[in-house]
């Protein structure tokens, strides 16, 4: 069993570890072997923390044998962590030259919480630089490839986290989601991804992109595992001033899968002209299935949807331009070797340390915040954000959740949209409004389009994360989409 441990779910691995049927060392070795075998093709990891993971596994095994009692709901479970989440003593690069050698002196709160629950950090995953991008191609390292088709993008920006889970290099992973960066790659790689309610998961130790939008969340191969990781990482943290200061309600999964009495809205703006016909067909079938499960389904409208994207591409770069001012070559990270004056040091350090997409966003954000443009761009965008928030509030007066595609299109070819930043931005149209309103949303597999996975997005009210997971679980239990595995897995690998 130890040899195929990489194919097991996080929940199963935890049970087998607790029962003494698999040691943590056996589990970690199985995943390290798997990574060694498939990651040269996929490139999901920037750093594999093999030595640290094995050392921790040995300690867990000793504690279990010593009868230490309950070791935690993730005891013995390897987790991959996006490389913008700080890990004490393990390099954290944000896939940027700027932080290529950076070793954080502390753990992010989410990492502390994972470890307190017995999880083992197996490595740090590839991403778009500083989480800015929708394809993974803005990594300053090699781009991650989609395990379903190595010529396709895995989605982004949590590219490596989604690809690692899809390729069974980890049973679960952490990602971060500012405009869709957990859900969109989860959809494109055929795994489950949850973007929690804003403030429910601590951002302490997560390298900031757009602070009013960023949220950390789990990716896994099924809803149960996703919920398990979510329950570990969510909760109060005084080191994050925007933390909601509360725990979520317990996630209750199990029993007869049913959506009886659940009212679902289908916002028509998410099925507009930009949607791929096969993606649309998958969603129509999924919605019919939700009805069969007992949900009442009705078409509805979120009239400001088309403006959400424009508001986002002011707000996110504006916050990013302020957050990224800290990368100045003084306290940590890269510094240009050729600095004369202090100003030259700043300018050259940032010129050499940042990639093209990060520079573009710093430029847009600085422009939108600059004297004379603040009201026209930044304030206007925040007013439109209010309209987006109100659209959702109106819908949630009638519905328990909204159903949409996660991405209007399946994964595209590597390189296809690299010359046209605006086309790349437009791919985030279904996920961005959710961040603007701080809502929870989960993406679950719901079929295939052109041989690539399609995701269904369920959007809920703030703090309804557990309900969304219950709905997603009922859907998953009565469908087999999530059981499909990339060809990489064939031949008993």
């Amino acid at each position: 069993m130890a040899g195929a441990a990489h194919l097991l779910s996080a929940t199963r691995l935890n049970r087998l570890f607790n029962a003494g049927e698999l040691s943590a060392v056996e589990i970690v070795e199985a995943f390290l072997n798997r990574i060694q075998k498939v990651d040269p093709k996929i490139n999901a990891f920037i750093t594999v923390a093999g030595e640290q993971a094995l050392a921790r596994a040995k300690k867990l095994d000793a504690r279990r044998k010593g009868g230490a009692g309950e070791l935690g709901s993730l005891a013995g479970v390897p987790i991959a962590v996006k490389d913008n989440i700080c890990t004490d003593g393990i390099r954290t690069t944000c896939a940027s030259r700027m932080l290529e050698e950076y070793i954080p002196p502390y753990d992010a709160t989410v990492v502390e919480r994972l470890q307190a629950a017995g999880a083992i950090i197996i490595g740090k995953t590839n991403m778009d630089e500083f989480a800015m991008g929708s394809s993974g191609e803005h990594s300053a390292m090699q781009p991650t490839r989609n395990p379903w088709n190595l010529e396709k993008i895995p989605g982004g920006s949590s590219s490596g986290s989604a690809a690692a889970v899809a390729a069974a290099e980890a049973p679960a992973a952490l990602g971060s989601d500012t405009g869709g960066s957990i859900r969109q790659p989860a959809a494109m790689c055929g795994v489950v991804g949850l973007k929690p309610t804003y403030g429910l998961v601590s951002r302490h130790g997560v390298v900031a992109f757009a602070s009013s939008l960023d949220q950390v969340g789990p990716l896994a191969r099924n809803v149960e595992d996703c919920a398990r990781v979510f329950e570990v990482i969510a909760g109060p943290d005084r080191r994050d001033a925007t933390n909601a200061g509360r725990y979520p309600q317990p996630v209750k999964l199990g029993g007869e899968p049913s959506l009886k009495g659940v009212r679902l809205g289908v916002p028509r703006e998410y099925f507009g002209s930009g949607i791929d016909p096969e993606v649309k067909a998958c969603l129509e079938e999924a919605i019919a299935h939700l009805e069969e499960l007992g949900a009442s389904v009705e078409e509805c409208s979120l009239p400001h949807t088309e403006y959400a994207l424009s508001a986002f591409y002011i707000i996110a770069p504006a916050e990013a331009s302020a957050n990224l001012a800290r990368f100045d070559g003084v306290r940590y990270g890269y510094r240009t070797p050729q600095a004369g004056t202090l100003n030259e040091m700043y300018e050259k350090t940032r010129q050499e340390g940042f990639g093209a997409e990060v520079k573009r966003r710093i430029m847009i954000g600085t422009y939108a915040l600059s004297s004379g443009y603040y009201d026209a761009y930044y304030k206007k965008a925040q007013q439109v954000r209010t309209l987006v928030v109100r659209d959702f509030a109106t819908a949630f007066a009638k519905y328990d959740a909204l159903v949409t595609p996660t991405s209007p299109v399946p994964a595209w070819n590597l390189g296809e949209k690299m010359d046209d930043p605006l086309q790349m931005y437009l791919a985030d149209v279904c996920t961005i409004p959710v961040n603007l309103a701080g809502l929870p949303a989960v993406s679950v597999p719901c079929g295939m389009a052109g041989g690539m996975p399609v995701g269904m997005q369920l959007i809920g009210k703030q703090f309804d994360d557990p309900k969304l997971l219950q709905y997603a679980w009922a859907f998953e239990k009565t469908t087999s989409y999530h059981e499909a595995r990339p060809a990489l897995d064939q031949g008993g690998q």
Binding site: P105, Y307, S310, R350, R360, M363, P421, L422
Partner: protein
């Protein structure tokens, strides 16, 4: 709305961001296109709409003024590009 090359250079200076000649050229075109797209916001009447800067009700977080463990200084300073005697070292910042 078309940005000029001078505007691009001005914004880059504000951001303390060095750009190559090629980047200046590319950004002048790309940023103009992105701004054109976001200018659609002008279609919306927002005269009586308050801005949403944050979706959670933010308030100051207070705690008792008690000393607690902070990060280890040597560990922190080990990440500095240049340091001396517990200080960050930078190029000379005064004239003359």
């Amino acid at each position: 709305m078309a940005l000029t090359r001078e505007q691009v250079e001005h914004v880059a200076r504000l951001a303390r961001l060095g750009l190559t000649e090629e980047e200046k050229e590319a950004f002048t075109v790309q940023l103009s296109r992105i701004l054109d797209h976001v200018n659609r916001l002008e279609e919306l009447d927002t005269r009586n709409v308050p801005p949403t800067y944050h979706v959670v009700a933010l308030q100051n977080v207070l705690r008792e003024d008690e000393p607690h463990q902070s990060l280890d200084r040597d560990k922190v300073m080990s990440q500095a590009p240049a340091a001396e005697a517990g200080y960050f070292k930078v190029p000379k910042i005064t004239e003359g």
